[in-house]
Symmetry: none
Subunit: 226 residues, 2 copies
DNA sequence: CACTTTTGTCACCCTTTTGGGGCAAAAAAG
DNA sequence: CTTTTTTGCCCCAAAAGGGTGACAAAAGTG
């Protein structure tokens, strides 16, 4: 479920954007002026924000700056009627991630939104699927497959695999894992991590030739596809 | 030090880009055709890649796809003379992060590169690497290679090599090493440091002509690439 | 409540890592 | 050249790290 926020005061543009994006399976929220837009962006998590540059109450540039000041990194696509290079430069420097000049074709906007989503997907909890070789983990569907075959995981196993996949290629220590997946301070002499790593391996690696979960003794674990 | 790769075959464009970007304190590498560009992008870590779309040997779209297939997430800014919306859409869908149509003003390109950098700064999985000659140590991957060949190290060996590499060119005493790597007060008549230095040499230097680990008798050890 | 599933602990075993002893080789000192 | 110190390097035993089955507690389900 990908959520977008559109901040736009021209009714006609706003409506056609909303319609077009809704048809492409995005969840679209609308704000009709800058103040409202900022408020919504601050209170809800969006995957991409599309904002007009000229707006009542607070303009697009100000919204940008304010969001970045509040440590909100949501990608912002700025729309504008102003097409000079200086305008674009100014917009990008104030924290926008892309800048599109009106008039534009809807499909270009769609492509740019998707490009912004792709970039954020690595970290954002809203990405669609995580992959490593022929292993796929659906963040939305909560389904895991290897070589097309469904693998049933429990909640903790899923959480552990998701954490490993999000850090694909990076060795993560047991302390880091228990901290991030279990939320515990790895001081209690527990060996849950090892036990679960064992469960995961049985389900994910055992029946396959190329192993994905690797141990680096004394350092931690890593998912690697080589 | 921010490194950019420019893949562009038109001499004039290439040179003016290089000059402009160098003036803004970027380190700029150039490739004049697609094949060369791909090779460079695969072997070196760049912060942003700027690629022309139409290139000899291999075009920009193909480079994009190939890099993404190889799990390289470096932000890509595509340049093109083709300005139709469909071209842009196609480019963005193949894995590019931004798309700029020629002719453009340099300052817009600069602003877009900066916008990409801001975002890409996050996942720098390939950047945290220590090097000495053809020896590479990945701080995240915990992998060590020499001349492209993987070397397996234990945790202590890794810690020792990391310490030496962090102090590349500086002679570190055995007391310093045991203090920083083992966390012990080098008073016990132990010879662990010598023993481990020996392990490291076996794995890192033995099979190669140019030795990297050098002993300064009575003073300590150092990694030197000369 | 009875039953199933999930979660986490324990105990045991196996593997790898670690670091010391001892000695030969190399370097420095006399 | 001989002696002393330092370093390199083999072997080996102890320790640490990690894998795994059994089992009990906890959570979820009808």
């Amino acid at each position: 479920m990908i959520k977008l926020l559109i901040i736009e005061d021209e009714r006609k543009t706003a409506e056609s954007l909303q319609q077009g994006l809704t048809e492409h399976d995005f969840i679209v929220h609308m704000a009709l002026d800058g103040g409202q837009g900022l408020e919504m962006a601050l209170s809800t998590h969006y995957d991409v924000i599309i904002s007009d540059r000229m707006l009542p109450k607070m303009n697009g540039i100000e919204i940008c700056r304010e969001l970045r000041r509040m440590q909100i990194g949501t990608p912002i696509l700025m729309l504008t009627a102003l097409g000079t290079t200086d305008d674009k430069v100014y917009g990008l420097e104030s924290g926008a991630d892309d800048y599109l000049t009106k008039p534009f074709e809807f499909k270009e906007l769609l492509a740019r939104v998707r490009a912004l989503l792709k970039r954020g997907a690595h970290f954002d909890a809203t990405g669609r699927t995580l992959r490593a070789a022929d292993l796929e983990l659906g963040l939305d569907t909560k389904q895991v497959t290897r070589h097309g075959k469904l693998i049933e995981l429990t909640a903790k196993e899923f959480g552990l695999l998701e954490f490993l996949l999000r850090n694909k290629g990076r060795v993560v220590s047991k302390a880091e894992i228990s901290e991030r997946v279990w939320g515990i301070n790895f001081d209690t002499g527990t060996n849950v991590v090892e036990v679960y790593m064992n469960y995961l391996r049985k389900k994910v690696d055992r029946d396959f030739d190329t192993k994905l979960i690797h141990t680096h003794i004394g350092l931690g674990y890593v998912i690697r596809e080589s």
